[in-house]
């Protein structure tokens, strides 16, 4: 039971990083990344493959971030100037193409068999339980660090420019901000965080395959960020843990309704995810922890 809890919390942390990534780009500049699962997959495969080839883990994870950011720039440079709809379509397509490449380029990714034997840090020394505890600690520290950076970013001049772009792009341009560059930097940073999440996932599971990176993950993270509160890092992070617990709790659905086939139970779980996302969008679009929008400073005018 304890090891199950540890597993759930570790997964929650990894989803939390994805939620911070989505919150940065969606809550920050108002751009929608429907290809989150694709960047997650890129990070996981890069870090897994180079570490199997012998690269030390910290470097492998760093490389996962860099390649994730590069993929982000490549996937978005065509659309970043256009309406948000186009970016949504392109990123959705990007995730599909990543899965296609992972399935078909067997020489690199071993196709649907997946990559196994991904190095897990200190697993031999700590034993299974010790490793799980250690990894939970590692993931939690990284999540905390990224979260604090995001919080810091939120209040920084950079973060304020992002929110200005989100609210009124023309006005931000008029104020002399180079909107395209800000958007690109933010998307790259966001993709890098998703890549880092992927790397952490791979070294935790020690086995990855294209099936681990279904588009469904992207929907989970959208649910996490909307439920938690778009625009507030703490909201997205809390939402991610909530979603993981929700998913784990619904795993036992089959025992409640013994008449259902396993496929039907899976279908009901996914329907619940969809209904929850619609419910949040309709009933509480600002989320559980709404974004603080500081009131405009009082101007010194005498009445």
């Amino acid at each position: 039971m304890l090891s199950y809890l540890i597993f759930t919390l570790t997964l929650g942390g990894i989803y939390g990083l994805l939620a911070l990534s989505l919150n940065l780009i969606w809550g920050g500049v108002g751009m929608v990344n429907l290809g989150l699962a694709g960047f997650f997959a890129v990070g996981a495969y890069v870090s897994a493959l180079v570490s199997i080839a012998g690269m030390p883990l910290p470097l492998a994870m760093l490389l996962a971030c860099v390649i994730g950011a590069m993929a982000g720039v490549i996937a978005t440079f065509a659309t970043i100037r256009l309406r948000g709809d186009y970016l949504a379509i392109v990123t959705l397509g990007f995730a599909e193409v990543v899965r296609m490449v992972a399935l078909n380029e067997r020489w690199l990714t071993r196709g649907s068999d997946g990559v196994s034997g991904i190095p897990a840090p200190f697993r031999a020394e700590l034993g299974i339980n010790g490793f799980n505890m250690f990894y939970l600690g590692l993931v939690s520290i990284i999540v905390l660090a990224v979260f604090l950076t995001m919080r810091r970013l939120d209040g920084s001049p950079f973060g304020r420019v992002l929110k200005a772009i989100r609210e009124d792009q023309e006005l931000a341009t008029f104020a002399g901000k180079y909107v395209t560059r800000f958007k690109m930097q933010t998307f790259a940073l966001s993709a890098a965080i998703a890549g880092l999440a992927g790397a952490l996932y791979g070294h935790f599971q020690t086995y990855i395959s294209p099936d681990h990176f279904q588009p469904l993950i992207t929907i989970y993270i959208f649910l996490a960020v909307t439920a938690g509160g778009v625009g507030r890092p703490l909201g997205g992070l809390a939402g991610a843990y909530l979603v993981v617990f929700f998913l784990e709790a619904t795993r036992f659905l089959g025992e409640l309704f013994p008449g259902l086939q396993p496929g039907q139970v899976a279908a009901v779980r996914e329907i619940l995810v969809g209904v929850a996302l619609l419910g949040v969008l309709h009933l509480r679009p600002q989320g559980i922890l709404p974004e603080h929008i500081a009131p405009a400073p009082k101007t010194e005018t005498t009445p």
């Binding site: 065509a78 959705l92 397509g93 279908a267 995810v273 969008l281």
Partner: protein, 287 residues
Amino acid sequence: MTTVAQAILNGMMTGMLIAIPALGLTAIFAVLRYVNFAIGAYATVGAFAAWYVNTRLGLGVFPSAIVAFAAGGFVGLVAEQTALARLRPSGALAVAIASIAVNLILENLIRFIFGNDLQGFDLPIARDWRFAGLRLGPQQVQTAAIAIAIMAAVFLFLRFTRFGKAMRAVADNPDLGRLLGMDPSRIAMITVVLGAGLAGVGGVLLGLDTAIDPMTGSRLLLSIFAAAVLGGLGSIPGAVVGAVMIGIGEELAVLVLPATYRSAVGFATILLILSLRPAGILGERNI
């Protein structure tokens, strides 16, 4: 040489089928100004409805296609009124995200009812026609003929009927439409029935020569989007031209690439067209 000609022929045939759901997507975008990701699920709903009446009641292709239109349109309207319409004031992206949730729910409802297995249609097996070294299946010709008939009907509807003209007017200038006394919510509903219904027919036409499963529509999504973006999102003639080009492009690409990369053509096309000419070949909103 013959293989290239055969690929172009097959691509044209598939392209005309992709054009039908692409028309649906682009019509909804033109009038309601949001990208509907649930179009994939509407196609699957139509395909399964048609499969049901085809295999259980023995209806032929044409009546089954009508059932698919009705089923797609009905489900689309219900989804729009319950899940999407109220989010319109929050902006196009909120509606688009909600449409992804709708897609997930519908796809899994179908999985819940019919299971994950592949389902085949009950069709007479016919020998391919051959001429000048090219092959053409009678089934292909029949579905292409239905597709052309539907496209003609859509053009006539938009050109000559009151609702068609109102849709074009609202697509062109929503405020002016309202000033002239057009009821925006009614026009929105008719557009959704038309768009989702077209997706439903597209689902069955594309599913006829292979088998269908709950993911059928979602797998087509990239090709449908590519067709609509290539032709210009919101442009009705553009969707047709874009779909035929995507169909041919996909067939030509699998001559040199593994067949599994077929829908990567759609992605590459989207990236290319958005870098070079974001409004598409025929321009946005040319409904």
